[in-house]
Symmetry: C2
Subunit: 378 residues, 2 copies
């Protein structure tokens, strides 16, 4: 019988860990980057090409999927894996973040959050119990507890109250998950630490989560505009407050240099729309920093997006061709830029894993930053 | 040394011909369907996937490419094949059709056509000589003569005058092509028959073209709104007016049943945006007629787009998933619908070729129409 959720740490380098999460649908190499498949598709990518880029796991969005095509429909069609043609692990978020950032007329109380769909104005509700039900219907492998987010600039009172409510919701998520029967046999549940930038709130949140017990722990409430310095400030202490034997997941992060710094601070898992979203608007990641392929200086540049990249796009397409495609608004431009960016992210994760294994992470990270941050975004 | 342009007819069945065109960049099986790669990309498709669908040759648009990124730039970047990553034959049109249908403030005289770009308002000119130059700069394998189009509903005088001018331009195209040096070593030149729906004008045009001499002959000026009956009426006589030893190309056609009827009437080559354009808007071709995947009845349909189809999309994706993707405006929806449609067209061409080889074309065509036209477009 395949393991439900076995996290093994193979090596450490400073606070960074090289590991693997073994699950029934496949093994996730950590530190891991999870491409975002918002609406049952990693935008502009076929599933086999996402896999070929090196991804072991995708993220699906509860909020988007519950609205369209609906969790119940996905369930009737055999679950999210079958629906979208991805047979490896899928992590689903709880809907908590998107319901606050995308929906309208949101009403929150202790029960949960009710809101109007940004698609068609219909009213919906998410509570911890409903979030667990949706993620169960989708067939998620890694289920996230439902939490409440507030801006890091909220008053201390608001920050504390949101963290405390999130911990009550974490317990309700745990209970609903455990009551879910068949789901609990194969899936894992992660708790989410809140507490904004406050070390004491973060500690209180971590202790509450550890008391409940989860398969993994996310550092939530970051990457919401606080800036890299403030985020790293939290990451200097937050991972250490969590269970060292479980994976630590930094939600919604981030830029390549964010990821390198977070891995150095002990984070094992990441997700972000940046490689896919920026690919669609013409931004390509390279080891010497991001470039905007729309820039006129690329119009007759016969070189690849990134001379240091081994992806199929860099092997076959010139900057001049991609410049043309993106400027002309061609779908193939979005496809190829996205594919390159996903390879870039996965190659970075592979290099980080290799450096941790070799005990050379500090050297790698220093050299990476020297190259990547050497010049402003062109 | 590979052949420049060798057309071999392997079998005939009624007026239909099974053949091959051998060129330096590859062999084109006929009857052939050429996907349209307007702006140096078959929209939403990677070149390798276009090839995997069974395409031996692509069409590129002179009008679009001369405006963006410009023929001169494509030439400096090594030609269209290298630029877009397609190493097999490419046919380029002359720009004559698009300049009339897409550009603004068009002025025609005996020299050529001057026009304002639909992209940025800049003024440009195409003459027979400039069209040959552009197609040479692009590195086209099959170059089309520059012609003048008028609606089939024009007066007899206008129809006749446009045909006669097109024949003078055909001669200038031939002379400019032959003067082109290196280009003439590897590329072929096709003449375009005009004459609207008039059998005598078509005969006069054919005789003028045969007098000049071309590697192949296109039936031009059709598929411009005259309807299938009128088009087939012309195809009942027009192919027979041309050189039986050369390929006959019906430009801009068409619907699957148009193609079947045209093959029965002796046409060897086709191009059309229909499979790609309609794929992007949610229409899928099936052997029992086109379907619109946005239709609510497909929302929970777990079957493939077309049970009779062997394409990768039908193997991996349900109608329900494609319904979701197209409704959500996802790029992957456009990608997969386009891929299926291109496979559908190439499978139809393969079946037509097999039927001609077996001497069973009438039976195949009758059965195809019975299935395909049995019900109105859903």
């Amino acid at each position: 019988m395949p393991p439900r959720f076995d996290f093994t740490i193979h090596a450490t380098d400073g606070k960074a860990r090289l590991g693997e999460i073994a699950m029934r649908r496949g093994t996730i190499r950590t530190p891991a980057f999870m491409p975002v498949g918002t609406a049952a598709t990693v935008k502009a990518m076929k599933p086999q090409d996402v896999r070929a880029s090196g991804a072991d796991i995708l993220l699906g969005n509860t909020y988007h999927l519950m609205l369209r095509p609906s969790a119940e429909r996905v369930h009737r069609l055999g679950g999210l894996h079958k629906f979208m043609g991805w047979d490896r692990p899928i992590l689903t978020d709880s809907g908590g973040y998107q319901v606050m950032s995308l929906s309208e007329l949101t009403k929150r109380n202790e029960e949960g959050v009710s809101f109007k769909s940004h698609l068609d104005g219909t009213r919906h509700m998410i509570s911890p119990e409903r979030s667990m039900e949706i993620q169960r219907l989708l067939g998620s492998d890694i289920v996230m507890a439902f939490d409440e987010l507030v801006p890091t600039t909220s008053t201390r009172e608001v920050r504390g109250a949101a963290m405390e409510r999130s911990m009550r919701w974490a317990k309700r998520s745990r209970d609903a998950f455990d009551a879910g029967g068949d789901h609990a046999e194969g899936a894992a549940l992660f708790g989410i630490q809140q507490g904004a930038l406050d070390q004491d709130l973060r500690k209180e949140s971590a202790d509450a989560l550890l008391d409940i017990g989860f398969d993994g722990y996310a550092v939530g409430g970051l990457a919401v505009g606080e800036g890299q310095e403030a985020m790293f400030g939290v990451l200097d202490f937050a991972p250490g407050q969590l269970d060292a034997t479980k994976p630590r997941y930094l939600m919604g992060v981030g830029k390549p240099d964010d990821i390198v710094g977070a891995v150095e601070r002990g984070i094992d898992m990441f997700d972000c729309v940046l490689p896919t979203r920026s690919g669609r608007t013409g931004q390509a990641f390279t080891r010497t920093g991001p470039i905007n392929i729309r820039n006129a200086r690329f119009a007759e540049d016969t070189g690849p997006l990134d001379p240091a990249c081994g992806c199929p796009v860099c092997a076959n397409s010139s900057r001049a061709y991609l410049h043309h495609l993106v400027r002309a608004g061609e779908i193939l431009g979005a496809m190829l830029m996205t594919e390159h960016n996903l390879y870039f992210y996965q190659a970075l994760m592979a290099d980080l894993r290799a450096a941790i294994g070799d005990g050379t992470l500090t050297r790698f990270a220093t050299a990476f930053r020297a190259d990547y941050l050497a010049r402003p975004d062109s």
